[in-house]
């Protein structure tokens, strides 16, 4: 066994260099400011007070959270039924359907988002079709609708696959048992299937909410220059204003918010599994 454990060392080194070190750098940048000639850095909380003292940043943060929550909720509402249908399909169709869900992910996200620009723009595909029926073009590109659509489109596979996995792992005999005890279809779903699939939903939320709250190229492309979310603010700190310290501070604030929400999600998850008698 011991020699196998040694094989993990390259991976530990990899984690240290590629994950832990960058995280530490972000923390270091967040709590420092460019110093004078003698000291390169000096410790400060200025980056954080600057963020929280300006209502504009708080507004952007709020807007980003609202968009991310909306995206996540839509992903659950659309993704759950899809996952349910796939999980209950016959084995052959199942493989095919899962393949169809993952297929778009083989193409780069940026390219797919560009495609949406072509579909949504004023002289794009949708408005072209509407034009045939004499309907005036509807402004879709550069609206919140386009941003949420882009996010749901890009992130929903993560939700579907998570729920699907937890649904297929479910012990089907539990449904028979519920049936024997006189539960009807709806009751069986609500009392057995739904609680047992919740862990999938929770990890789906993690996988959708996380990228949605920090995404910057979807709002940039589909929302236009005037659509600024927190990801765009971070991007601009690194790319145009060159204020890495403030950019890192915002990233850190985001990381803390995300960790808190993950913690809450985990707690909810535990509570529900406790209630259902920890059916594992």
């Amino acid at each position: 066994m011991k020699q196998f454990r040694n094989m993990a060392y390259p991976y530990v080194v990899w984690i240290a260099i590629m994950i832990v070190l960058p995280m530490l750098l972000i923390v270091m940048y967040a709590f420092t400011k460019k110093g004078n000639d003698v000291t390169t850095f000096r410790f400060t909380l200025e980056n954080f007070t600057y963020f929280f003292s300006d209502p504009i940043f708080i507004d952007v943060l709020e807007r980003s959270l609202v968009i991310a929550v909306l995206t996540t909720v839509i992903c659950i509402l659309l993704g759950y039924p899809v996952a349910y249908i796939i999980a209950n399909a016959n084995p052959k169709a199942k493989t095919m359907l899962v393949l169809l869900i993952t297929l778009p992910m083989w193409i780069n996200m940026l390219v797919r988002t560009y495609a949406w620009m072509g579909i949504l723009q004023d002289d794009g595909v949708i408005n072209g079709i509407l034009g045939y029926f004499g309907i005036a073009p509807i402004k879709m590109l550069h609206t919140s609708f386009a941003v949420v659509l882009g996010m749901v489109y890009n992130f929903i596979p993560f939700m579907i696959l998570q729920i699907y996995t937890s649904l297929t792992k479910m012990d089907k005999s539990l449904l028979d048992a519920a049936n024997d005890l006189g539960a009807n279809k709806l009751q069986r779903f609500l009392k057995v299937t739904l609680p047992l699939s919740l862990p999938g939903v929770i990890s789906g939320i993690t996988l959708v909410f996380l990228p949605a709250v920090s995404s910057f190229f979807i709002p940039k492309l589909l929302g236009g220059g005037q659509y600024v979310l927190i990801g765009n603010v971070i991007e601009s700190q690194f790319l145009t204003s060159g204020n890495w310290n403030f950019g890192s501070a915002i990233s850190l604030i985001m990381a803390i918010i995300i960790m808190l929400s993950m913690y809450i999600a985990k707690r909810v998850d535990k509570d529900t599994s406790a209630k259902t008698g920890g059916a594992k």
Partner: protein, 359 residues
């Protein structure tokens, strides 16, 4: 939009004219150190045949890479990438000269330098053309729809027309901190190179107010197509882009506002680490020829640095006769050239994201 795509493609080397049949030229005669020229230029900034003609005429190969901002170009140079000719804007050239990153030109190898137009904005940075040879020059102004915006009104209000609530929701602003703050500072009657904190704060409030009351749309290259379609009434636009818009849509007109605006030039320079300076001189000389310069200006719409081309384009029957946007105004004392100030630029960038983020 087009620029974005150009950048995506730009990272992939665009090798034009592979295997040119006449690749017997200069290098073998020992005239140039090699027969490849590495050119680093803006996207969508060259005449259709510029590169292929040069390759054929001199039997060389040109490798072109594209950038979409001076800063991006500067970062790559600092990373040690070697190019033979680059085409930055004035303030960036100022910085490159300060950095000792440019090679002094051997003017005896650029006889066509006598074709240069007089009084270009580039003379601000490099009056004797020791390092630079202008490529294009231009201004920033407002494209407006003649049918909805009376000429007298825009002449009267200048940049402040962007805050005229009659045009609420009908405005394109240029999505860049440098150009937006230029507009605001000029509208307030200040220098666009100001370092005065109070003036910058005022400009920030001016832009924020515009953002909050006028529902502007912030765009970059898509402004060209959108104004051709007549999507909005007013747009802050670079003169070359405006030339193209006016060419396509007769309802559109162009004005350089009375408060003065940014006049600029993009010039060819040879970086100090160029591997083929001989050929670089040859290329610069070639761009200054009538044919090459005409081709560039015809395709891109910016004002040529070649006097003869300028005269031809604006003469009666010329390509841009009566196109107000093509030839920038010269000698107007309120017009300014950007000065290099990296600290200020960072500050403006920080304020700009806040302008856009406020709702």
């Amino acid at each position: 939009m087009k620029k974005l795509i150009a950048v995506l493609l730009g990272t992939v080397l665009m090798v034009s004219g592979c295997g040119s049949p006449k690749a017997t030229g200069g290098a073998k005669e020992g005239k140039y150190s090699s027969d490849t020229l590495k050119l680093y230029n803006w996207g969508e900034y060259m005449g259709e045949n510029l590169i292929s003609d040069f390759e054929d005429q001199f039997g060389v190969k040109v490798i072109v890479e594209y950038f979409d901002s001076n800063e991006m170009m500067y970062t790559k140079l600092q990373a040690g990438d070697a190019y033979d000719v680059i085409v930055p804007s004035d303030y960036m050239i100022e910085r490159l000269i300060k950095d000792n990153a440019l090679m002094k030109l051997d003017k005896s190898k650029i006889p066509n330098i006598s074709n240069l137009a007089e009084g270009l904005p580039s003379t601000d940075v490099d009056p004797e053309n020791d390092y630079t040879v202008p490529y294009f020059w231009g201004s920033v102004g407002i494209v407006y729809n003649k049918n909805t915006v009376p000429k007298e009104l825009i002449e009267e209000e200048g940049f402040n027309i962007l805050k005229n609530t009659d045009y609420k929701g009908k405005i394109y602003m240029y999505d860049s901190e440098r150009d937006s703050f230029m507009v605001a500072l000029k509208a307030l009657g200040y220098s666009m190179n100001t370092e005065d904190e109070g003036e910058i704060e005022e400009a920030y409030q001016w832009l924020k107010e515009l953002n909050d009351t006028m529902q502007p749309t912030y765009v970059t290259d898509e402004v060209i197509d959108n104004m051709m379609n007549g999507d909005k009434d007013l747009a802050v636009v670079y003169s070359g882009d405006a030339t193209v818009v006016l060419d396509e849509n007769p309802d559109m007109a162009f004005i350089m506002p009375k408060e003065g605006t940014n006049v600029w030039s993009d010039s060819m320079v040879i970086p100090a680490n160029s591997e083929n300076p001989e050929l670089a001189h040859e290329f610069i000389n070639y761009v200054l020829t009538y044919d090459a310069s005409y081709g560039n200006s015809e395709t891109v719409g910016y004002a040529s640095s070649n006097q003869e081309v300028l005269d031809e384009m604006t003469a009666q029957g010329g390509l841009y006769y009566e196109n107000e946007a093509y030839l920038p105004r010269t000698g107007y004392e309120k017009d300014e050239v950007f000065k290099d100030n990296a600290v200020l630029k960072q500050k403006l960038a920080e304020l700009w994201i806040k302008v856009k983020a406020s709702k």
